[in-house]
């Protein structure tokens, strides 16, 4: 027989963000438990609302199968004495397995003769197992924060547990968790259906809840919220989509309903992102936009299924929205009374990091750095980049951003205020964009000046953090340095002038370090550069992998010249294009032999042609001398396929050389000369990749 199981933990309103992770944990724990208990089932499902976390299992087997298995014990020698009587070892084994010592058997195994026990275990009823296990489940769930209540624990949960409802088929499972006893009662919507509801069978749970104004499924609730919002928006325009907010709102409700309210169009003087933020962050409300993308003076609020008395609910929400917009309007007006230039003074009181100084010191560095970067990357944008960098952190001390109102609008507000104060479009755009990319996959700044400021902002942060030992390790990356380094890689990869690259990661890093006052960074510059470059190499590998290049290719590309980002992508693409050609495998073998020697070469000197042996050695040298300028020119142009092809032409001479010539010649001078020759070639090959990382793929 199979029956369904319901276990519902009823609680006082659980934080929205806690619900899904808890449901995932419940599902995993249940699946593991049924597996361990050898109970078959037709699927585990977990669903939740702010007031309940529910575990539902279909077709759960009613009783464990009896278990019969043969268990291997000690060797015969240890189990029986010379007199043939069982020893303490055998007695202990039999007792431990719950069998009579006389019932032990001896069997021959590849390892010798061993004692075995035939163990029978009668299957237990599922309801018994559940009554033992279910009370443990709530205590196994981990929440970001948990609490005690009433007499003070030790039981902890996200919020106080109000009831436990547990049925297996029609059987009520009976257990207690501290003072809370399980039962067959669930509850409906807190206000719309407050009376306890008795369940006759686990299977009727979701239907009964639906009748009691609770939509149990999170996805269903989300869909309904969205549909309600879109319907409410229709009269005014279209809903401004916000998936993250939708996820939150769906977990703040048991029964979705939405309504539209209006606000004074005078507030539309506020920038669109500010209004959206006001509605979102303060009221969990959505915005509505017109066809042309401009906002309508409308907000969309949700209710927890309350549809009566809508005018009062609408007016209540509207009053709060009005007050919030009024605050924002006040901030917006006040903020414009002080220029971003003057606010730089206030940045002297804002500590960026206690070891790294104030934000004011930081913008001083950023101004110099952004200008320097622009000289290299976008000379025309130099003045704009420097100006934008000078002002880019001033919005941190505006009311809008600084007074904890809308921290996430940093950059955005600076750009708006800059524009309103008459800064050039390029400067205000650069300020707006300079935090980008803000997350993995986010856009990089569109404008050249914006990229220069964004690069300066991120590299200054990176070398500062590394310089005082704040280096990410494992999952620990509190300052999101990986994301920032990846952002730098993405920006340097994106646009390069034809035929080359104007700025390397190493140059960028050194320039940023150089701008810190002496003694501020505790790691010495050279060591710091090396650390940061290692970090960048990993980010580059990551970026190449995400671009779809296979691991060995990524390793080969990143192992050489990883400080040149755009070029690394060109090299990767070139290798991808040639790696399926027939000549690829032999070339990789040949190049790797050359490069391997390099590790043994030590200091190399210029090649002395007089010491070259006739035949394969001289041929290789001459062919190499002819090929080298060609390869270097192709590389400089970013034509790495042609560079590879040219080098691949040396494959045969290389093989001939290794076949005919003994590199480790007895004569020290000859030996050193040969190593020098190979070292020079290895350097040229390294312009494309470290081919040794590709050898494995060939085998």
């Amino acid at each position: 027989m199979k029956k369904s199981l319901l276990f519902e933990i009823g609680a006082e309103e659980i934080p929205a963000s806690y619900i899904q992770p808890a449901l995932d944990q419940m599902k995993a724990a249940a699946e593991a438990f049924f597996h361990e208990m050898r109970l078959s089932h037709g699927g585990v499902r977990t669903e939740g609302t702010p007031r309940r976390l529910a575990l539902m299992v279909a077709d759960l087997q009613e009783r464990q199968e009896d278990l019969s298995e043969e268990v291997m014990g000690p060797p015969v020698k240890a189990a029986y004495g010379p007199d043939g009587k069982p020893t303490q070892v055998a007695l202990g084994f039999a007792k431990g397995r719950g069998v009579d010592v006389a019932a032990l058997t001896v069997k021959t195994t590849p390892r010798g003769d061993y004692v075995f026990a035939q163990v029978h275990q009668a299957g237990r009823f599922t309801f018994e197992l559940l009554e033992d296990w279910l009370p443990q489940l709530p205590q196994k769930l981990a929440f970001p924060k948990s609490m005690r209540w009433g007499e003070g624990g030790p039981l902890r949960f996200a919020r106080p547990i109000s009831w436990l409802c547990a049925l297996y088929g029609s059987r009520t499972l009976k257990f207690a968790l501290e003072h809370i006893r399980s039962g067959a009662f669930t509850r409906g919507h807190r206000f719309l259906a407050p009376a306890p509801i008795k369940l006759k069978d686990a299977a009727e749970y979701e239907k009964k809840l639906a009748h009691a104004d609770v939509v149990l499924g999170t996805a269903a609730r989300r869909d309904q919220v969205l549909a309600r919002l879109e319907k409410a928006a229709k009269k005014y325009g279209r809903l401004v989509p916000d998936d993250a907010l939708l996820d939150v709102v769906a977990n703040l409700l048991e029964k979705p309903f939405a309504l539209a309210g209006e606000f004074d169009p005078a507030y539309l003087v506020l920038p669109k992102p500010v209004i959206i933020k006001v509605l979102r962050e303060h009221q969990f409300a959505f915005a509505v936009e017109r066809e042309n993308g401009a906002l309508a003076p409308v907000f969309l609020a949700t209710t927890n299924g309350i549809e009566r008395n809508l005018p009062a609910i609408r007016e209540g929400n509207a009053r709060v929205v009005r007050a919030r917009l009024e605050d924002a309007k006040f901030f917006f007006a006040e903020d414009q009374k002080t220029s971003l230039e003057r606010r730089r003074e206030d940045l002297k009181t804002v500590v960026w990091h206690e070891k790294l100084g104030t934000v004011h010191e930081r913008v001083e560095r950023l101004e110099a750095l952004a200008g320097w970067i622009a000289e290299r990357l976008a000379p025309d944008a130099k003045a704009d980049a420097a100006r934008a960098a000078r002002l880019c952190k001033s919005d941190l001390v505006t009311l809008m951003v600084g007074e904890k109102e809308f921290t996430s609008l940093q950059g955005e507000m600076g750009g708006v205020y800059a524009r309103l104060a008459g800064e050039s479009p390029a400067v205000s755009q650069a300020i707006t964009e300079h935090y980008r990319p803000r997350f993995a996959g986010d856009e990089i700044p569109e404008s050249p000046a914006g990229r220069c400021v964004a690069l300066a902002d991120k590299i200054d942060d990176l070398v500062g953090s590394f310089g005082i030992g704040l280096i990410p390790s494992g999952s620990q990356d509190p300052y999101a340095l990986r994301r920032k380094a990846s952002g730098i890689v993405a920006m340097l990869k994106a646009k390069t002038p034809e035929g080359g690259e104007a700025l390397s990661l190493a140059e960028l890093t050194e320039a940023a370090i150089h701008l810190y006052p002496q003694g501020r960074l505790s790691t010495p510059p050279r060591e710091l550069t090396a650390q940061v470059m290692d970090f960048f190499r990993a980010r580059l590998e990551n970026a190449l992998s995400e671009a779809g290049y296979e691991p060995s290719l990524v390793a080969a590309v990143a192992a050489s010249r990883s400080e040149w980002v755009a070029e690394a992508f060109q090299r990767a693409e070139a290798l991808r294009r040639v790696m399926d050609r027939d000549e690829f495998a032999p070339a990789v073998q040949a190049f790797s032999r050359v490069t391997n020697i390099l590790d043994k070469a030590g200091d190399t000197k210029p090649v002395d042609e007089a010491l070259l042996a006739e035949g394969a050695e001289r041929t290789l040298w001459e062919r190499y001398l002819a090929a080298r300028p060609v390869v270097e020119r192709y590389c400089a142009q970013g034509a790495f396929v042609q560079a590879f092809e040219t080098l691949a032409g040396l494959g045969a001479p290389i093989d001939a050389f290794f076949g005919d010539v003994l590199v480790m010649a007895e004569d020290a001078g000859v030996r050193a000369n040969r190593l020098s020759l190979l070292a020079q070639m290895a350097r040229t090959i390294g312009l494309i990749a470290d081919f040794r990382k590709l050898v494995k793929r060939q085998n």
Binding site: N304, N317, A323
Partner: protein
Amino acid sequence: MAPKTKVKPKPKSKPKPKPKPKPKLAPGTSFQDIILTLQKFWAGHGCVIAQPYDLEKGAGTFNPNTFLRSLGPEPWNAAYVEPSRRPRDGRYGQNPNRTQMFHQFQVILKPCPNDIMDLYLQSLGELGIVAQDHDIRFLEDDWESPSLGASGLGWQVWLDGLEITQFTYFQQVGGVELKPISGEITYGLERLAMYLQKADSFWDMAYGSGTSYAEMFRENERQFSRYNFEAAEAAVLFKDFENHESEARRLIELGLVLPAYDFVVKASHTFNLLDARGAISVTQRTGYIGRVRSLARKTAVAYLKLREELGHPLLKTGAA
């Protein structure tokens, strides 16, 4: 851009009565009526109706009826109004709903009963707020007072989008883990009154017995905003802070826990004044908060000892 002024709802094209009549106040919704209703309700549920503690403070939590009484094993149920001062929030009486002084109605239930949320909702019913007719939500809001070394988990309660109450299960006070747990309900009285009176601004609210809220407090807001932001003498306040701190320490040494706690409260408020005055830099802030917290911790430990020495009298009488 114009300086901040109250936005008066512009008359729309809809038909409207000629002179805008003052909306009639619904019965029981004046500021003082709300207080009387809540006092009566909670007195009926076993709370002692205490009075505000006669010191300036940032919140009802600072009242010894909460801070000290939530410590230790003895039960305690109390309710009281607490005028609360947040010097930084002053807006010279210009802002419709932000002031440097406002009123909390504080309920402390220890141990927190299982039906505490139902009781709270019943109290709203007494104020005429029927749950089925409004959107009432309990939204995650964990509370922490760094200067009191106190923290708890709970919600802010929304009524049709307006936050009207903080609801907190205390977990720790003065750095001490609590057992049993106190439930704290903090009604924002101005918010509730604004909602019930359908007012857009504190300054449009009725206080009661024919007196307006503005008459009661608007001049206070103007004067205290000027004091907090402009006139307060930082040098004097710094000295006050030092004195309050050393007095608190000295009195704890003498076993005078209750007077010592007064000086903790005074030190905390003095810090808030200095903060509003802009006399404390960002880097100094955490230092000052840490000093108040250290006093709060010492007081909490001393208070636990005091109640123990007194033999936990409320346990014996079974008071609830």
